[in-house]
Amino acid sequence: MTAAQIIFLITAAVILGSAFMVVTTKNLVHAALWLIVTLFGAAVLFATLNAGFIAVVQVVIYIGAIAILFIFAVMLTRRSMTDTGPGLNRGWWLSAAIALLTFGGLVWLVSGWGGFTKAAPAYPSGFDAVAALAHALVSPEAFVLPFEVASVLLLAALVGAVYIAFQRKGEE
């Protein structure tokens, strides 16, 4: 066992445990807080994978914006502090079976692939992934079009979501 493996196992345990809490806990604010733990664990994994930019963006966007949005939405859509009721459907065991089948199927599928257990290639020394990513996103021969289209997607989401959620005057 190397140190990297121990760190991975601890992080993985935290991610899976908190993800399990997200889908089972009755109190939705707790679920959102557990989601933050999961997201943070994923950020740690990205950092161990040398993807520093993705790790930090994960914290900025997921924890700083999306999780906060979730908590606001939970606060807006509840009748009282304690109203939680049964969290799961009656047919939850069927869902659990489907999820287990999916997990088994996915692992079975990828384990048949040749590169399943390959080790990471040596990280090129002196290679700055952040600078390379910046260049890839902006330079004309790489991903500039997806980059611009992403902003159009976000504009559409903003207009649509604000229109849906906006309470017009006189309504209620």
Partner: protein
Amino acid sequence: MDFWSNPVKFLDDWLTGVFSGWGMAADAARVLTAFVGILVLITLVMVLDIFLVWLERKIVSRFQDRIGPNRVGPFGLIQPFADIIKLIIKENIYPVGVDKAVFNLAPVLMMMSVLLLWAVLPLTSFLGLDLNVGVLYVIGVGALGTVAIIMAGWSSNNKYALLGSFRQVAVMISYEIPMVAALLIPTIFAGSMGINSIVAAQDTWYIVLAPLAFLLFLVSATAELGRAPFDLTEAESELIAGHHIEYSGMKFGLFYASELLHAFTFGGFIAAFFFGGWRGPWVEAYPALGLFYFIVKATIAYWLFGWIKYTFPRIRIDKMLDLNWKFLVPFAFVLVPFLALMHALLRETSFYALGMFLANIALGWATIEILRRRAHGERAKVEGAVEMHG
């Protein structure tokens, strides 16, 4: 190796050598040394924090024409230690209906979100990590503080705490946009997100190249810190004390200490991003001198926050959000491409610094002119309405 050119590296090598001498693996020795170093740094930061309590009380008392703490020790310097002892031995009250786990976690997370900033704070050229995503790291750590405020407000089982924390979070996330935009500008100039690289690139201080970005950062950082005039969460007359109403003893102390330390840390970032950080005369010859320059600049910036805090009255939340969304955000999105364009055009020329400064002045003047016209229009409308009724 010369001790004074890089004392931290010197001590680091020495300690790693000691640990290796005990038969430890090289990597383990290095990690353990880093651990000891961080422990020392954070302890020093906490001592600084205690000193900040004293400084804050002295500043506020001067603004209010008082003397401030002067009984315990010379100039009342021992006073904050007495406060700490009092806070530690005070009873921990758990009010009814408190969500204990979340309630206890919130102050720890709050303090942690401030302490984590010190990992990338460029104290000197050799101290302070030059993370290649440093600027985004600062914003991400700020997000943890937002979560801590929500946790504190929600777990307290108190309407005022909940309302206060939600207002504060609404304000913090709103002002994060102009703050991030203001931080884009040093990134553009330096071509790097590492904060130490940004300091190293400041042959002319960025306050000269982008005074407007500095103003934008100052305003949005004040809101981000939750300090007056933007301290809606602690609007004592409306919301008692916001998210930390129900906290007592050391947990309240952590909230209080983290607020002061946060302000000082942001003072440090102002120094680093706009005032050349550790740079100053003779720093090339004696790098350790940078620490002194940095602390002086950060303390001045911290005093600036105090000056703002004790001068302006609190702003109502709707006015505050208006200020952000209808002025700061549009202004930020004009400023960033404008400065990027000027930077790209003038970078190779000999009058780069002067040109950037004049461009800033021109944009600032145009903004003020537009605002003045609009204000006149509004005023004419209101006065016209009054005359018609009168």
